[in-house]
């Protein structure tokens, strides 16, 4: 699973580079617009240590943001899973709030909280949270009648058991949703850093943009992609192992 993620990333990244260099040499674009492969390699040697550190910084914030989102989404989806007034309110609120672009709120967050760790974390968590919540609400509000019937009929279906049954039956979906949300968390953190923060790979991309240095941006994209591919591969593997362990197939 991890290997598949990695080679898929390499194929896409190298394909992107190939297209870029084809455009450069076909249209005879200057070094300033698209740098030559040799220039990109020289830049790698120059920035790889700093960019690795920056990506790790961004990645740490994204992971914390994702964990917060997962916890919050589980909590809210448990409350919102029934067709009661509270449940309907939670669902409607979630649908409406997620329709508002979080990036548009980012300036307010930066004004109120400054350009440090908290702002990046909050934006990462918010961007990751709503799609997660909608998926989890969908999973948690769908009864597994053929399993739940006995427990409901004999008065044993407490909310903990109901949640356990629905989570177990949808474990594969949950793992996919959580692995997918990693991209959102990373994107959220990078966007936050790009807008106003003072650290992370998004901040480095902003500086590279001011310098019109496409080599640095390409290298930053490589580091982001490889980190995200490894993390998503790891999450998928983790989901698979959890499923096997829980269902007794290990």
């Amino acid at each position: 699973m991890l290997y598949r993620r990695l080679y898929q990333f390499f194929i896409i990244y190298l394909l992107g580079l190939a297209i870029l260099f084809t455009i450069k040499y076909t249209l005879r674009l200057s070094e300033y617009v698209i740098p030559a492969p040799a220039t990109v390699l020289l830049t790698v040697a120059e920035v790889y240590a700093r960019y690795s550190k920056d990506v790790f910084d961004t990645f740490s914030v994204a992971i914390i943001g994702q964990l917060i989102s997962i916890g919050l989404a589980i909590f809210i989806s448990i409350f919102g899973r029934h067709a009661s007034w509270v449940g309907s309110f939670v669902k409607v609120a979630a649908y409406n709030v997620q329709a508002y672009p979080i990036v548009a709120l980012a300036p307010i967050i930066f004004i109120l909280l400054g350009d440090g760790f908290l702002s990046r974390l909050l934006i990462a968590a918010m961007i990751c949270y709503f799609p997660l919540l909608l998926s989890m609400l969908g999973i948690m509000s769908e009864p597994i009648t053929e399993v739940e019937h006995f427990y409901a009929a004999t008065g044993r279906l407490r909310w903990q058991l109901e949640v356990k049954i629905r989570a177990f039956e949808n474990l594969h979906k949950l793992a996919t949703v959580i692995a997918g949300s990693a991209t959102l968390a990373m994107a959220g953190t990078i966007v936050a850093e790009f807008i106003a923060a003072n650290a992370g790979i998004g901040y480095s991309i902003r500086i590279a943009l001011y310098q019109s240095d496409l080599s640095k941006i390409l290298i930053a994209l490589f580091f982001i992609g490889i980190t995200l591919s490894c993390y998503q591969g790891f999450l998928e593997w983790l989901g698979q192992q959890a499923g096997k362990l829980w269902a007794g197939n290990a």
Partner: protein, 231 residues
């Protein structure tokens, strides 16, 4: 009357015809009874009315005791797969019923497969495991909707006779499409008919076979014919 349904009328939302129109029937004594009828006539819906899962019908359902416990089981039910069958059965068996559970585990042929997860069992084994967990519960009426559908005929017969032997004071409503089985084992066969027919439910006496009381082939054929004609 142990179970009395009077003048039940029910129509599913967004359908053109009612499913039941002034349906009345009753069960006056414990034992193994049947609800029989063609597919789509409303057997499962009637079970859901009896168990209170459908409430927006007109008419009355009364039981002998005010707080009679009516359970409903069907053949597609599953046990969660996070634990073995024996763990699940142990967990849902009320205290004091452990011995009964062990009797059924042996008699239903579940002992050898009890350490498996539910998903690893065959359909017939799943049916038997599911039925055991219902039989050890406290109930006055148990509605068994095709819940032995995947069990082979010989074992099904043995299971039905065992249930009759163990629970002479309880009421079972057996929903099945097997006319010979229904005619042989059931005391009262309530035949549900299409909404266009009146009355919509007809009661016929079955042979009520037990271990001590075998049946005669001729009587069985006569009862089966009676059932088929009533449908």
């Amino acid at each position: 009357m142990l179970l009395d349904c009077q003048d039940i009328t029910y129509q599913y939302p967004n359908t053109e015809l009612p499913l039941f129109k002034h349906l009345s029937f009753g069960i006056d004594m414990p034992g193994f009874h049947a609800i029989f009828g063609p597919s789509g006539v409303g057997k499962t819906s009637l079970a859901r009315i009896l168990t209170g899962q459908i409430n927006d019908f007109t008419g009355t359902v009364t039981t002998k005791k005010d707080n009679s416990k009516i359970l409903y089981t069907y053949n597609l039910e599953r046990l969660p797969d996070w634990s073995s069958v024996e763990n699940h059965l142990a967990k849902v068996t009320p205290s004091g019923k452990e011995d009964l559970k062990e009797v059924f585990i042996d008699f239903f042929g579940v002992r050898k497969i009890a350490h498996y997860r539910f998903s690893k069992l065959s359909l017939g084994q799943k049916n038997r495991v599911n039925l055991i967990r219902y039989l050890v519960q406290a109930f006055d009426v148990l509605i068994m909707d095709e819940c032995l559908a995947n069990v082979d005929e010989r074992r099904r017969e043995a299971i039905i006779l065992k249930i009759k032997e163990h629970f002479p004071d309880r009421c079972f409503l057996y929903i099945s499409h097997n006319v010979s089985e229904v005619a042989r084992f059931c005391r009262q066969i309530t035949i549900l008919r299409s909404v266009h027919k009146s009355p919509q439910a007809i009661a016929i006496s079955g042979l009520n076979q037990t271990k001590e009381k075998p049946f005669e082939k001729e009587t069985l054929e006569k009862t089966m014919l009676e059932v088929m004609n009533a449908v």
